[in-house]
């Protein structure tokens, strides 16, 4: 009998993972392969794709250098600004806040992340737009201030949009921190500042790494924030992709850029995992 129960077990396992496996294959693996094939093709005269084998699309990447440059510059800066705002909040929530209200305070940070980024970015379009802050400044005599469609506006939108994602992993790693270490440090005569820099900060580095990596990776594919707050002046790779696919219908060129973007994401991710692994000895990346 053991053989048949074994066989039954195998079949059950296969049946359990089959739908997900099929979904992943048909809607992730196959499309990705199609995109790679497209990247080596040519643009058909009427738009779209025409079969070919050429490296022309990749050779043509420098024509979109500005989009890559903006993304690669603004994403890390945005992530860093996020970190600067997020760390004190995570520190306060995990160590200084009243445990009674902690869950509520943490929820208040997480909840905006799961609400529409479109709506949240719209809010800033509204505030920075000509009828928002510039209008108020105009009333007190400061005329012609442009806030919308500047790199600053995009950075502000980034910090606003991704702050929750930065706070959470740092909060989790600080929350896990053994409080007795802090007491021991104080008992041994360390000043709070040196306890922070020698105990708290190093032990929270995995969370910091996770947060920075998550925010940078999501920013690499960002479209809405530069579109709405950068107004075509500050554009990311995502904006170039939408333009190539939906406006100029140059699918092969767009595919080449998309493939390159995935390569960049994988590179950033492996660097982050490598550092995280060195820092903490674990590769855990928490997303929710």
């Amino acid at each position: 009998m053991p053989l048949t129960t074994d066989r039954k077990r195998q079949l059950t396992t296969a049946a359990l993972v089959a739908p997900a496996g099929l979904w992943l294959f048909v809607f992730l693996v196959l499309p990705f392969m199609a995109m790679v094939v497209f990247a080596f093709g040519e643009r058909a005269p009427e738009g779209g794709y025409q079969a070919a084998f050429t490296f022309a699309q990749f050779a043509n990447l420098p024509s979109r250098a500005a989009a890559f440059w903006n993304t690669m510059m603004i994403a890390p800066v945005g992530a860093f600004l996020c970190l600067i705002v997020a760390y004190p909040v995570a520190y306060y929530l995990s160590i200084k806040s009243n445990p009674k209200y902690r869950l509520v305070l943490v929820s208040l940070v997480v909840v905006p992340f799961w609400t529409s980024l479109l709506v949240r970015t719209y809010a800033w379009m509204y505030i920075l737009g000509s009828r928002g802050i510039p209008n108020l400044l105009g009333m007190i005599g400061i005329e012609d201030v442009r806030l919308l469609n500047t790199p600053g506006a995009v950075l502000l939108g980034i910090v606003y949009g991704y702050l929750p994602l930065m706070i959470m992993p740092i909060y989790v790693s600080l929350e896990k921190l053994d409080r007795r270490l802090l007491e021991a440090s104080a008992d041994l005569g360390a000043k709070p500042v040196s306890t922070f820099f020698r105990i708290t900060l190093p032990l929270s580095l995995p969370g910091v790494m996770t947060g920075v990596a998550l925010v940078i990776i999501l920013l690499l594919g960002e479209y809405l924030i530069p579109q709405l707050l950068g107004g075509g002046k500050v554009f990311f790779i995502g904006n170039a992709l939408v333009d190539l696919f939906l406006q100029s219908r140059n699918w092969p060129s767009g595919s080449a850029i998309a493939v390159t973007l995935v390569v960049v994401v994988v590179l950033v991710l492996s660097v982050a995992m490598h550092i995280a692994w060195k820092v903490s000895g674990s590769r855990q990346v928490e997303l929710v």
């Binding site: 306060y92 799961w114 509204y126």
Partner: protein, 274 residues
Amino acid sequence: MRTLVTSVYLFLYAPIALVVLFSFNAGRSASEFTGFSTMWYSKALGNTFLITALQNSLMIAFTSAVLAAVFGTMAALGMQRLSSRGRAIFDGLFAAAIVVPGVVIGIATLVALVEVFSFLNPALASIWPGDKPPQLGLGYGSIIAAHGLFSLALVTMIVKARIASLGRDIVEASSDLYATPFTTFRQIVLPQILPSVLAGFLLAFTFSFDDFIVAFFVAGSKTTLPIYVFASIRRGVTPEINAIATMVLVASLLIILIARVLMRDKTTKVQAGE
């Protein structure tokens, strides 16, 4: 430090509050509050394009989240029984589904489906007995498929984490007491993973409901609520958009709060068990 943290919370919520406030503005202005009125809400609710977009979004979010919850839970249960190699492949694919930017998922799905349809439609037409062969194209199906991909990975991750935190001993005790594997699943495992399945479903629902970029590529001629909102924003800022935005916010806030309660329930139970 408290002042700093308070100002961060203000920073997080004040812009949203402003959007909500001006959705009740009686005037057309987006900067001058001229009196309280709900006229923009009735105007928004009377807008048939908007209502259609909302219905599409709800249907797509519901379908993709249900499929993701069912298949994701099955995958989470099945993966623990796979060989370590099989598990690594699934882990890698799920991770890819999460980290690959939405814009790339949208593009890849678009090019693959358009290519597949360009083969399938003539083939279908040649074997179709009637006069009007069905034309396959982008639409509800492609949005559900592309949203389902991310949602599937999300649900699997959440449920898998829950399964990992379950004690093996209770499952073994159940089988020692001669329960069949299915009975053990129904009476022991399922009740314990159900909150995380529900939480995964709700997160998947809000993800799909709020997603703009993936749908933008694969929606074809269909309109979802975020696509409609995006198009209206491009036409100009009006209190009507504020009213729509407020309704979208309230909807996702409610769903996400329920998901948070379900997930919290899970952690307290785990802590109690320790």
